[in-house]
Amino acid sequence: MQPTGEDTAPCKSEILQGTLDLMVLKTLDALGPLHGYGIARRIEQISEEALNVNQGTIYLCLVRLMQKKWIEAEWGTSDNNRKARFYSISKPGRKQLVAETENWRRIAGVIGSLLELEGAK
């Protein structure tokens, strides 16, 4: 076992980690309770495979979000009759989602206009 600290990010970078969190929250918000596989599948579809991460990574995001109490989990049965843990977004999670969306849009706007500016030169 390697010594791993707090900062050892399961995702490739800080931004990616935040992005993945946001994606999971948004997915749960849009589609309601989902199990890990469902979330992973959905994100893959949306990103059209551009986000090349292992599906296992999803579980680390889920743990993190659980710890922050942004999502909740309970055992249930999947479509094909398997026992699975279903995750759903919580009230603080929704709040966080709104705030993060806002934040993300703002940053995206800034970056966008910055890049445009650079391009115009």
């Binding site: 076992m1 390697q2 010594p3 791993t4 600290g5 707090e6 050892t8 399961p10 199990h35 890990g36 596989y37 992973a40 292992n54 599906q55 296992g56 990574t57 579980y59 680390l60 743990v63 993190r64 710890q67 922050k68 109490k69 999947s78 094909n80 398997r82 026992k83 699975a84 843990r85």
Partner: protein
């Protein structure tokens, strides 16, 4: 922050329930992969291919699981817990090793904590007064006059009035003693302090009950018969009666009103002194039973302390005081000497602070050396252990443990034993320091309070030692190549380097040990020298009976008659060979620096005096009882009465200083304004401490110079307690009201012997500890060497090596190291002479006895330590060994 905190607690919770969590994750992962696989199969893959693709997509499960655990729990604490658990298991598996390490550290750290505890209490802990930083004590520049009493009371008043640099200045006489009686208790002798009225205000302390006295209470001599009790006296003599305020107590038959009780932790400005009462100095004549120093400019009777005004530097204040002193010496040329002043911190008996500081810091250095030797010892122990475990460590590396984790694991082991040793050391030290605090020698004591600083030092020493002895072996072990270690077994892999390190460590240990052994020998020599120093008197076999006739109001002729009567009575006791009295015995105080003038001197100013002498008042027979040799002339006699010519006996130094080689008998000199004839010359002696250079002394007959205080010096052939009983009976029968204190002379001198004794004990303990460490170190190395080389030794024996060859092969290296280390150590001890001189008077480590003693001790230790391994080497049975693995 709150959310971070919450997350931490969630993690903490997960940390404790992680087993369940991991089960759950496993289930989730299994189900995830199953779904993926199913989907892949549905998409047309074979079952196997589908599963493979699913695993690929999911990523490495194990790695994810670890990350998951890391994310969920507390990785640092978790690893620590694992390490600690493993370390405890490993350590429990080798109890002998663990015990040796813990004991070694207990001794090393314990010794340091004891020394630091004393140093902390004596030097670092602030005095129990408010704002101790700007409190100063006035001293004379030349290192003379008493330890504490430096200034006459009238001069103090002049300083107080004329200075412009002190916000307040107080006078203290800490040598007050009185026979205390009150209607509720029996007569007992108490020791306390006389102070100027502003003393408590200046120190800024508060009473436990009642009040203190203040300047407003004083209206000239005898106006303030008030008394403040110490908490201890209040408890011991007044049963901690809260209504004690207002009680009338008689001190030397003069009534004093108790106004208050001081707090238990307040005991004046001297760290080692614990006064039992405080009385206003204006009433000292009553408290002292007649001795008046308030109007005596020639008696240095008080200690002066003061607080500097804000913004005034000690230097500026000193200049101010010197200007005043110069003025005074012009106004009062016969009494005020115009000596230069300086300011010191109060608390350590005036200038004794320098000696005490030097002593404590030097002992600290030696204690740290002991710990360093212990660490060197443990480093080689740990290195040897790591080498023995190299197969295990290599296996762990091979199985994927990182080297960092390996170092961490080994360091954890070191820290755990070190903390255990530290805890044991601090516990032992606490016990010792408690004993020390309860120890009440007559010349003052120290209360060592164990504050957080002491514990912090203990912890720091434990962790520091752990790093010191843990890091090298850990690093070394982590450097070893797993492949080699597994192939060749424990030793061969990097044997040369490891042995070089062990050699250096053992050598360092022997060097330190030799220094400490030499130091303790030096101290023992100092002690022997102190015990056999020519004192100018023979304390063994002498009983001292102190009696204060002045306290009973008896003076002059009556007191003299009483004294004669008592001397005759004591002389009649069986077994008594000689008896005499003195006002004080040598090395217990008394007047010094008394100016002596030649006959014909008209102006008796200090600048005209020939020498400054000590002065004793003795009865006929004192010189015989004290066994002070009379070199010429006669003893004083009862016929030397007040109306006859004034006579004196002087010592050699006095005679030589006054008259050179001329015969002194019959010569005359002026003392206290009158001419005195020399009738006898006695040998020189020690009058203050063992380290002093020869001083002049003059003995005056008590029949011509009566003093209230007398000490009966009784030489007898009987046991001290027998003669003490009879003295009590006889003297008490003649003078039942006078407080009498009986002590044997050697006991009375124990205070003088204390530095030598303390040094011997301190250095003796250090030396002993170091010797023990050296034995274990040499033994460890030799035993380890022999056990590692069993096979080689077996081959040598099989090939016909002689016994000497075997022994030299087995323990030759430690013996060589012992020789080299001892030589280096002795050299270092000689270089450390200034350090030792702080501890032991006339320290001389190059003394032949010390050198020989140290070499002999080290050789003995070496033989003792390597004997067992050598015997084991000799007992090697080649045939048996060769058959092994």
């Amino acid at each position: 922050l709150m959310s971070a905190l919450r997350r931490f607690f969630t993690r903490l919770l997960n940390f404790t329930t992680r087993r369940r969590d991991q089960e759950r994750l496993k289930e989730e992962v299994v189900s995830h992969i199953a779904i993926l696989t199913e989907e892949n199969i549905r998409a047309g893959m074979t079952a196997e291919e589908g599963r493979r693709q699913a695993h690929l997509k999911f990523g490495a499960i194990a790695e994810m699981q670890e990350d998951y655990i890391a994310e969920k729990g507390l990785p640092f604490a978790e690893i620590l817990l694992v390490d600690v658990r493993y370390a405890v298991r490993v350590l429990r598996k080798s109890p002998a090793f663990t015990t040796v390490v813990v004991l070694t550290l207990m001794l090393g750290i314990g010794a340091n904590v004891v020394v630091f505890g004393v140093l902390n209490a004596a030097l670092l802990h602030p005095l129990e007064v408010s704002d101790p930083q700007n409190l100063y004590q006035v001293r004379l520049k030349p290192w003379m006059s008493g330890r504490l009493l430096t200034t006459s009371y009238p001069a103090f008043q002049d300083f107080e009035r004329k200075n412009t640099t002190f916000s307040d200045m107080a006078a203290i006489n800490a040598y007050s003693s009185a026979a205390m009686s009150w209607h509720g208790g029996s007569l007992r002798e108490v020791h306390g302090i006389e102070t100027s009225g502003n003393y408590f205000d200046l120190l800024g302390v508060q009473p436990e009950i009642g009040r203190f006295f203040h300047p407003a209470d004083e209206n000239g001599p005898g106006s303030a018969p008030y008394m403040v009790l110490s908490e201890e006296l209040w408890r011991s003599s007044f049963n901690a009666d809260p209504g004690v305020v207002g009680t009338i107590v008689e001190l030397n038959k003069h009534p004093f009103t108790v106004v208050g009780v001081a707090e238990g932790r307040f005991h004046g400005t001297e760290r080692f002194a614990w006064p039992e009462y405080w009385v206003p100095m204006v009433n000292e004549v009553q408290a002292e039973g007649g001795y008046d120093y308030l109007n005596n400019r020639s008696a240095p009777a008080v200690t002066v302390i003061g607080r500097l005004k804000p913004g005034i530097t000690p230097r500026r204040a000193t200049e101010d005081l010197n200007a005043i002193e110069a003025e005074l010496s012009k106004d009062y040329p016969t009494t005020d000497r115009g000596l230069e002043m300086r300011l010191i911190r109060p608390g350590l008996y005036g200038d004794e602070g320098d000696a005490i500081r030097g002593f404590l810091f030097s002992v600290t250095v030696l204690a740290l050396l002991v710990l360093a030797a212990a660490c060197a010892n443990l480093t080689s122990l740990f290195a040897a252990r790591a080498a023995d475990r190299s197969r295990e460590l290599a296996l762990r590396v091979a199985l994927g443990s990182s080297r960092n984790r390996l170092i961490r694991q080994l360091l954890t082991e070191a820290v755990i034993v070190s903390l255990a040793g530290g805890a044991a050391g601090v516990a032992t030290a606490t016990l010792l320091l408690h004993q020390l605090s309860r120890w009440r020698p007559p010349y003052g004591h120290l209360v060592v309070s164990l504050d957080s600083r002491v514990y912090a030092v203990g912890l720091a020493l434990a962790l520091g030692s752990a790093l010191l002895f843990g890091i090298i072996p850990a690093w070394q072990a982590s450097q070893s190549s797993p492949l080699q270690a597994m192939k060749h077994g424990a030793i061969e892999s990097s044997r040369l380097r490891r042995f070089a390190l062990r050699d250096i460590l053992l050598c360092a240990q022997i060097v330190i040990c030799t220094v400490l052994v030499a130091a303790s020998l030096v101290a023992a020599r100092g002690m022997v020298r102190a015990l056999h120093a020519p004192l100018g008197f023979q304390p063994t076999g002498v009983m001292l009976a102190e009696m204060d006739l002045g306290q009973l109001g008896q003076t002059g002729e009556i007191a003299l008659e009483r004294e004669k009567e008592m001397i005759e009575a004591v002389r009649g006791l069986p077994g008594v060979t000689s008896v005499g009295t003195a006002n004080v015995t040598p090395m217990s105080g008394g007047a010094r620096g008394v100016p002596v003038f030649r006959i014909g001197t008209t102006e008796l100013t200090f600048s005209n005096s020939v020498l400054a002498t000590r002065r004793y008042v003795i009865s006929p027979g004192y010189l015989a009882a004290a066994a002070t040799r009379l070199l010429g002339g006669r003893d004083v006699s009862w016929h030397d009465t007040a109306d006859k010519p004034q006579v004196a006996v002087v010592n050699e130094t006095f005679a030589r200083a006054m008259w050179g080689n001329m015969p002194a008998i019959g010569q005359r000199f002026i003392l206290f304004g009158g001419p005195i004839e020399v009738v006898g010359v006695v040998e020189d002696g020690k009058y203050h401490d063992l380290a002093e250079s020869p001083e002049a002394a003059v003995y005056r007959p008590s029949s011509q110079e009566v003093e209230g205080e007398v000490v009966f010096v009784v030489r007898s052939q009987r046991a001290p307690n027998q003669i003490a009983q009879e003295l009590q009976h006889t003297l008490g029968g003649i003078e039942p009201d006078a407080p009498l204190s009986l002590r044997s002379w050697p006991d009375a001198l124990s205070g003088v012997m204390f530095p030598a004794r303390a040094a011997t004990v301190a250095l003796g303990v250090m030396g002993l500890l170091a010797a023990m460490l050296a034995v274990t170190g040499i033994f460890g190395m030799a035993a380890y060497g022999v056990s590692c080389r069993m096979k080689e030794l077996g081959i040598r024996v099989a090939l016909g090596a002689s016994r000497t060859e075997v022994i030299s092969a087995a323990v030759g290296r430690p013996i060589v190291l012992l020789g080299v280390g001892s030589m280096l150590g002795l050299l270092l001890a000689c270089l450390a002479r200034p350090l030792l001189a702080q501890i032991v008077f006339q320290a001389n480590p190059s003394d032949l006895v010390v050198v020989a003693g140290a070499v002999f001790t080290m050789a003995l230790l070496g033989i003792a330590a390597s004997a067992v391994p050598a015997l084991r080497a000799l007992a090697v049975d080649p045939s048996h060994l060769m058959r092994e693995d």
